[in-house]
Symmetry: C2
Subunit: 196 residues, 2 copies
C-alpha cells in the first residue's frame, strides 16, 4: 500500500469522513509545507498522550481532577450531567453556569449495546451520595429519544437519594419560527412556559 | 492554549473542516486507543516526508520519476493534462487510458491569484517540444469556467508546436436524465454526438 493510500485510509476511519474527503485531506497535506503537516501530527500525538478523562467528572483534561472540578469559585452543590465532553464546552461558552459537571460518556442506546454499565453512572451516584453535599442534579442530556430515556433512567436512580433532579428546558430555539416548528416542540414550549 | 484546543485548531485548518467537525474529530481521537491516534499521526508524517511531485509529470509519488512515467508499457506519445493529483487516480481507475499524465497543480483563476506562472505550464511545453515524440495532448481539466479557460489557454500555447490537442467530451453523465439536465450540457451532448 502506498503512503498516499495509507494516509487516506487513516483519514477515512475518522467519523463523518468519507473516502473522497479523506483523499482531499491527504492531497492537502501533501501540498502544504512539511512543518504544517508535522504540526497536525504533533498535535494528535500530544493530545492523545496527555489528555485523559478527569477522575471526578469524566471531562477530557490534561490535569486530573480537571480545572472545573478543582475551581474553588464554582458552586459545588450543583452538578450538570451531559452525554459527551463537547457538551461541557457548549455550556461553558454560555457563561451562565457556575456549577460542576458529570460526563456520562454517551447515552443509553440498547440497539448500539450501550447500557448503564457502559456509562459513568455509578461514579455519578457516588458523587451525589458522597460527603460533599450535592443539592441539585441538572440532567442536560440531548432532547433526543435516547437522551430523554437516559434522563428518565437517571431520574429514577437519583430521586431516592433525596437530591433535587431537574431537566433542561425544551422549547423553541432563539430565531426559531412557530410556523415551521414541529408539534412536539411547540407543545413542550407551552408546557415549559413561564411568567414574565 | 490547551492540547484539545491546539488539535482542534489544526483540524480546523484543513479544507472543508469547520470548527464543529474539528471538535468532533478531536474528541474521537481522545476516545480511541493511543495506538490508533499514533497510526494517523505516523501516516501524516510518513506521507509528508516521502511523497513528492514527480519530476516529470507532477503527480505525487514516493519515487521520482513516478511509476506511470517510467512504465515502459504505457503509450509515451499521448499526454493527458489534469488539474490536480486526484484526477490522475480518477482516470487510472477507469482502466481506459494507457498514456502519460501531466498535473498542472491547479487551474487559471485570476481572482485567486493563480496565473500561468503558478501552474506547471512550462514543463508541459518542454515535454511536448522535447526529444521524445508527443503526438497528442488530451486536455482533461474540469468542465468548469476556470477549467475551460485553462484548456483554451493551453490550446493556444500547444497548437503552434504541431501537436494534436484534444479536449475530453462533455455530455450527459451515465445515469443522467435529459429532463433534468441543464441546457448547456444538452447542447454540448448534441455537439459531441457520434456515429453508432
Amino acid at each position: 500500500m502506498s503512503l498516499i493510500e495509507r494516509l487516506t485510509d487513516e483519514f477515512a476511519r475518522l467519523p463523518g469522513i468519507g473516502r473522497k474527503t479523506a483523499l482531499r485531506l491527504t492531497y492537502h497535506l501533501l501540498k502544504v509545507t512539511s512543518q504544517e503537516a508535522h504540526r497536525l501530527a504533533d498535535a494528535i500525538v500530544a493530545a492523545s498522550e496527555n489528555v485523559r478523562p478527569c477522575e471526578t467528572c469524566g471531562t477530557f483534561t490534561e490535569v486530573s481532577p480537571c480545572r472545573i472540578c478543582t475551581n474553588e469559585r464554582r458552586d459545588r452543590s450543583i452538578v450538570c450531567v451531559v452525554e459527551e465532553g463537547p457538551d461541557v464546552g457548549a455550556i461553558e461558552a454560555t457563561g451562565e453556569y457556575r456549577g460542576l459537571y458529570h460526563v456520562l460518556g454517551g447515552r443509553l442506546s440498547p440497539l448500539d449495546g450501550v447500557g448503564p454499565a457502559e456509562l459513568n453512572v455509578n461514579s455519578l451516584l457516588d458523587r451525589v451520595s458522597g460527603e460533599s453535599p450535592v443539592r441539585e442534579v441538572v440532567l442536560a442530556t440531548n432532547p433526543s429519544v435516547e437522551g430523554e430515556a437516559t434522563a428518565m433512567y437517571l431520574h429514577r436512580l437519583l430521586a431516592p437519594l433525596g437530591v433535587r433532579v431537574t431537566r433542561i428546558a425544551r422549547g423553541l430555539p432563539v430565531g426559531g419560527d412557530l410556523e415551521y416548528a414541529d408539534g412536539v416542540t411547540i407543545a413542550e414550549a407551552l408546557q415549559y412556559r413561564r411568567d414574565l
